[in-house]
């Protein structure tokens, strides 16, 4: 027998030796929650700041100015091909439009990156990127040291179940909750080991 068949027959044997009862999963935890926009905004901002992300709040008309300010003294940035170009209209530096054939070494030369986001979870301060549309491929939001992430208040949900429900499983998905961090040395929190050391979230209130 090959390994696959052996392992599967071992599983069958194990369950035949000690037959398990059928299981019903209780789902009494909170799901399908709706929260007023104002409450979601407050919760999300509080959580993000707790993770030492910098939050900028603005209306859509001011997005470009806010994003340019969040980029600070970055001179070279990357963006996903599908990003709304209006968002980087106020940025004075060089803009690299990402594509799959740009090697990681070139991304390493960028000061920062601007992307959109798929969903955000207020209760945990988590932003979901799914490699689709203006969210960019995974390497783009990973290699540069600064990530400016645009979140529409309309895409913010209350908790984790509400966020997972909005995802498309086949897309490569990254959940980010603040910048890269480690507590491996005497439990002292240090920001930025391998991912972006700085996370700026631009929360667009009226989109």
């Amino acid at each position: 027998m090959n390994a696959r068949d052996t392992v599967l027959s071992r599983v069958h044997d194990a369950l035949a030796i000690a037959p398990p009862p059928a299981v019903r999963v209780p789902r009494e935890y909170r799901r399908d929650r709706e929260l007023p926009a104002e409450q979601k905004r407050e919760l999300l901002v509080d959580r993000l700041e707790d993770y030492r992300a910098t939050v900028h709040q603005c209306v859509a008309a001011d997005a470009a100015t806010t994003i340019a300010a969040a980029l600070g003294d970055a001179t070279r940035i990357g963006i996903p091909a599908a990003l709304d170009r209006g968002w980087v209209a106020e940025f004075g530096g060089e803009v690299l439009v990402d594509s799959a054939d740009i090697p990681a070494a070139r991304l390493d030369e960028l000061d920062g990156v601007v992307t959109g986001s798929a969903v955000a979870c207020a209760e945990t301060g988590t932003i979901f990127l799914d490699g689709f549309s203006d969210r960019g491929r995974r390497a783009l939001t990973l290699v540069p040291d600064l990530h400016v992430c645009v979140v529409a208040l309309s895409s913010v949900v209350a908790g984790v179940p509400e966020a997972v429900a909005r995802l498309e499983p086949t897309r490569p998905t990254t959940l980010i909750s603040g910048p890269s961090a480690t507590s491996d040395i005497e439990l002292d929190r240090v920001e930025g080991v391998h991912g972006p050391r700085t996370l700026h979230v631009v929360l667009v209130l009226d989109s």
Partner: protein
């Protein structure tokens, strides 16, 4: 299904790999207890994480309901494991991944080695993973001329220090900053010789050392926190971004996953993405979680291999009671609340899996098969059975009951109960005063065995008792001898006078 079930089921074999220490728990614990630096570090770490965990789990009004759901989902997975494994395999293949099955540690190591060699690389990046540590993958790759580079900061510290991990979550917690600085200066190629011991600078040194390797990497090896049967999605939960680097930068990704890591549906992630971070680091969510399904065109590795590992898991599954240990999501909450772990640290357990869950899982995966001399047979006794681990466990694993069950199995396997014999002998000795005096005199012989005020070993059958705990050395005199002595009489007279004054 293709693995046709025929006739009498046979108990599946135990696993192999880094699942057995060189010495028994009490012997190893004695060495570790003398390491005050380690005890201080582990004590501080467990206290800190413990407090954070209580705070963030208390924040959720439905925490208990989430735990119940988590426990039930895991029980459901095990009860439907054959169909879910096949569903999972098909889903991964449908999305461009390749699935390999490994009966034991040696087979898994051989598969991974072949896959790495196929890429032409002699270097592989690694995400911290319990499964690859369990099978001793790094050591095996080294014998095949392949260098495995750990990319998690703590694992890198352990690797460069030629050390062993001491905690599931923070493997280098037994080291302090100045030790880490010394390790980096000694073993990290290209390190700045002026490096100081500021954690920010140490982390930065690791960033610089690894960045270049991430950018040029051809192949990476990871574990998995969850595998979703319905969609074939895999997930890695982490903080530093080294996981994201390994999972997305190389052309080839190899993931080694224990077959118990399965969950039925994508929606079930909603439960575990709440349970795991809060129980583990005491955070509402860990900084980074990656989820991927097979190969994504133009995003990440173009080749994905999944190695599904048995290595004693089916043997554990065959035990109606013990199989509950397979629910474990490796959050390490039980370690942080365990009074025994807090004092001994992780090394004393001798296995990849330390602490309360390790004391249960290790003997189940690898067996306690060489009788009293197997270090694994001492693990079920490495607990005070206080119950704190059960209360902390996010998937409600009843570790104390599992420990008791394993003790029972151990005693059964030893054919006679050594402890029962001890008790029988003791009750016979206590039944008449003459015998009791004789026994107490005999017990004074124990002083000959003891050093530092403890008896290390008793002759059989008493050794079954002392193999797991120290026995206080009997006093120089029996109580009767003391009572009859002038010292004893004076003490009794004093006590009488005390009592009379009241």
């Amino acid at each position: 299904m293709s693995g046709t079930f025929l006739g009498m089921p046979a108990a599946p074999p135990r696993g192999s790999g880094n699942l057995r220490g060189a010495e028994s728990f009490p012997a190893a614990a004695r060495t570790e207890l003398a390491n005050t630096q380690m005890r201080r570090n582990v004590g501080k770490a467990t206290r800190t994480i413990r407090d954070k965990r209580v705070q963030v789990t208390g924040e959720l009004p439905d925490w208990e309901q989430l735990r119940s759901a988590g426990a039930a989902i895991k029980r459901d997975v095990l009860s439907r494991l054959p169909e879910l494994l096949e569903q999972f395999e098909q889903a991964v293949i449908a999305r461009g991944g390749q699935v390999h099955w490994a009966r034991d540690a040696a087979e898994a190591n051989a598969i991974v080695t072949r896959l790495v060699k196929d890429t032409g690389a002699d270097e592989a990046l690694k995400v911290k993973s319990m499964a690859t540590q369990e099978i001793g993958l790094n050591e095996h790759l080294a014998t095949e001329g392949i260098t495995a580079i750990e990319t998690d900061l703590a694992e890198l510290i352990v690797q460069l220090g030629e050390d062993r991990p001491s905690h599931i979550l923070v493997p280098a917690i037994h080291r302090n900053r100045s030790e880490i600085r010394e390790i980096f200066l000694r073993s990290m190629p290209g390190v700045d010789p002026d490096l100081d011991d500021d954690p920010t600078h140490l982390a930065d040194a690791a960033r610089r050392f690894l960045r270049e390797r991430f950018v040029r990497a051809r192949v990476a090896i990871s574990g998995a926190n969850f595998g979703v049967a319905e969609t074939g999605t895999l997930s890695v939960v982490e903080s530093e971004g080294n996981g994201r680097m390994c999972l997305t930068m190389p052309q080839t990704l190899i993931t080694v996953m224990g077959l118990e890591k399965l969950i039925p549906t994508y929606a079930d992630l909603e439960v575990f993405l709440q349970l795991l971070p809060r129980s583990s680091t005491g955070e509402r969510m860990n900084p980074y979680t990656s989820m991927w399904t097979g190969v994504a065109p133009h995003d990440g590795p173009s080749e994905f291999h999944l190695v599904l590992l048995d290595n004693g898991r089916t043997a554990t599954l065959a035990d109606e009671v013990g199989r509950e240990a397979l629910h474990c999501i490796r959050c390490s909450a039980c370690l942080n609340v365990c009074p025994v772990y807090e004092r001994t640290g992780g090394h004393a357990y001798g296995s990849t899996y330390p602490g309360p869950i390790g004391a249960v899982l290790t003997p189940q995966l690898a067996g306690m098969d060489t009788g009293g001399s197997d270090p694994n047979s001492s693990l079920p006794y490495a607990s005070s059975l206080c119950g704190a681990c059960f209360d902390a466990c996010p998937v409600k694993i009843d570790i104390p009951s599992l420990l008791v069950e394993l003790r029972h199995q151990h005693v059964e396997e030893a054919h006679f109960s050594a402890e029962q014999l001890m008790m029988k002998a003791a009750s016979a000795a206590m039944s008449t005063s003459g015998r009791w005096t004789a026994a107490q005199r005999a017990a004074q012989l124990g002083r000959l065995l003891g050093r530092g005020g403890r008896i290390r070993t008793l002759p059989p059958p008493g050794n079954a008792w002392t193999s797991a705990r120290d026995l206080p050395v009997p006093p120089k005199q029996t109580f009767r001898q003391w009572w009859d002595s002038s010292e004893g009489r004076a003490a009794i007279d004093d006590a009488h006078r005390e009592g009379g004054r009241r």
